[in-house]
Symmetry: D3
Subunit: 136 residues, 6 copies
């Protein structure tokens, strides 16, 4: 078993804001992240797949095809988007935290690559915060 990781990037806006809370409560819990006018990040996404290298090509997967799937199914929707408003596969009542984004990106990818090969989604929101989801 070998693990192969492809890194892709996207830039997006978001805010952390619970509609049913007061502005004060949002400010207390989310601080500056609750700015009504949004803020944003350069996100860095690590997608890890696992498998046995093909004896002829030496590939677990064709990394060019993996990159294309990530770009078609994830980056195309997230890059230069507003994560609260613009992305069909992000539920409108789901807070776009780094943790939750890992889980929706996993769901978006897992059925577009061979079954059993997706190992991990890791997402950097800044250079000091990242989350990882292993599918369970």
């Amino acid at each position: 078993m070998v693990y192969l990781t492809r890194i892709e990037k996207f830039n997006a806006a978001h805010k952390l804001w619970v509609e049913s809370w007061s502005e004060e409560q949002n400010q207390t819990v989310f601080g500056k992240c609750s700015n009504k006018n949004w803020h944003g990040h350069n996100y860095i996404l690590h997608v890890t797949v696992k498998g046995t290298p093909d004896p002829l090509t030496g590939f677990i997967v064709d990394v060019k095809q993996l990159s294309k799937v990530i770009r078609d199914e994830v980056i195309e929707y997230l890059d230069h988007s507003n994560l609260n408003l613009d992305v069909p596969f992000i539920p409108k009542d789901m807070m776009p935290t780094t943790e939750n984004l890992c889980m929706v990106i996993w769901k978006q990818l897992v059925n577009n690559i061979p079954a059993g090969t997706l190992h991990s989604i890791k997402l950097f929101e800044t250079d000091s915060i990242y989350a990882e989801y292993l599918g369970e």
Copy 2:
């Protein structure tokens, strides 16, 4: 003459959009950066000052004080902000490109540090684009 650089960071949302243009024209010129719902970046700011090290302290400037000025005069306003809407020292009719941001950050800092010491403002918008302004 020695040059000393302090790096600070901020995360912000913006869009590139000329009000007097049609949506199509904005899309043609600014592409995905014209998304009405905003997008954002992790900005990295390099502020460079110049001078002769003090014989006793070895300092051109006290870098802790320089850092405080940058945070009080720049980062406090820009971090977790919307660069088109929220920042008092960014004119509402000024496009918040990396180039223009360098110039307004220069203006914001130059009168808050000793005259003649500000040398350069360099700003990274992503890890593949940065701008620099030397004050003239």
Copy 3:
């Protein structure tokens, strides 16, 4: 289960030196790291916690609070310190190697965050050496 990592930094001095050994023996085992007058590093600390995102906030933990705990309980003591002499929670007879530092930082944090959430302490001593401790 999602894993969330917060990165913090500190700068410190240390030396590797066994008191019961001769200078020659220390030099043989620890090389330049045994310099009696100390040397130092910019350490980079990754603290990883695990859990299920809160349905409302999307947080495993409040990363601002996690950051505060790391700074109050770890960085406050280690930053600009001498790791052999200055830190109350580093035993005086414990060699301040990257490996051992991971273990004492784990002990320092594990009782200050919700039980069962601390997953990993990873520490970079330089850009070519790092250690990781998972609590067992």
Copy 4:
């Protein structure tokens, strides 16, 4: 159990090319990586060992000795080499993909360090592709 990682680097040329395939087939599968005249990379190698820190030295292993083994047994052969042609421990019929390189580097190192201590070989081919092998 603590994990300790040492990072070393090498620069090398390679191509991805199956001899029994037509040029067109190689181009289809490997794209630009099939250029007959080779291309190359700055590879970054992470070697992770595991163990319990020695009570006296605080070392899992002596990282200077680990570094020497990696350089003598791996880097000496791979640095400034052609991975398809020059390396005695890379089989001539093995495609030098990142995945396969992890496995041959593991084999090259596992008998040169104490039994049971090698934990992981991770190799970056570029800043957007890396593979990892855990020995099974």
Copy 5:
């Protein structure tokens, strides 16, 4: 005057070898870089242009168009190439050192962007060597 930099990357093989010299002389001067079977690098290219931001768009140049010119005129030829053999605009008798590459990349770009705007070509061969050329 503001300076704007776009970063692009390419991976290539090369060797340093003077045909009129003996193998021994090449080895003495170029060391491992003279390996007959080539070696390679992940090159990182910084292209800096200068100008005054357009009052409406805030652009010195359209960075998307600048990126397209760099990719069409430079990266398309250099990426996954052999720098000694494959590149029409690298003279066959020119040693593909980082210094010389900066100069040929300058020549390749200077006539494809508005006159007087090209400021600097900076090229990283590894993370410890880079060269810069300012056109004179």
Copy 6:
């Protein structure tokens, strides 16, 4: 004229402390940097030389020889040292700030490489502070 930069690294301890000042005054000016028991950094040194590439070798200088000079004349003395106590070419009454270190490293190198070729000494103390000295 082309500029070539070689990067080398060293780890060292230091403190900022004026002997003729009280402890309180040192604390006020230097903050945590005045810790009597020292602290330390992973320093990153950029040495830039300038010249015209040799028509045959494509070299401004032989970067391997430049690297050897930097290591023999600078790194050998600074690595794993105490910058206040251990380094013959750092005056005992000179504060080892990043600014001053650039100037003494310049003096240490300028007579060991061909006259007129040294262009710049840039030194990173942390990933958010660096200084540069151009020799005048």
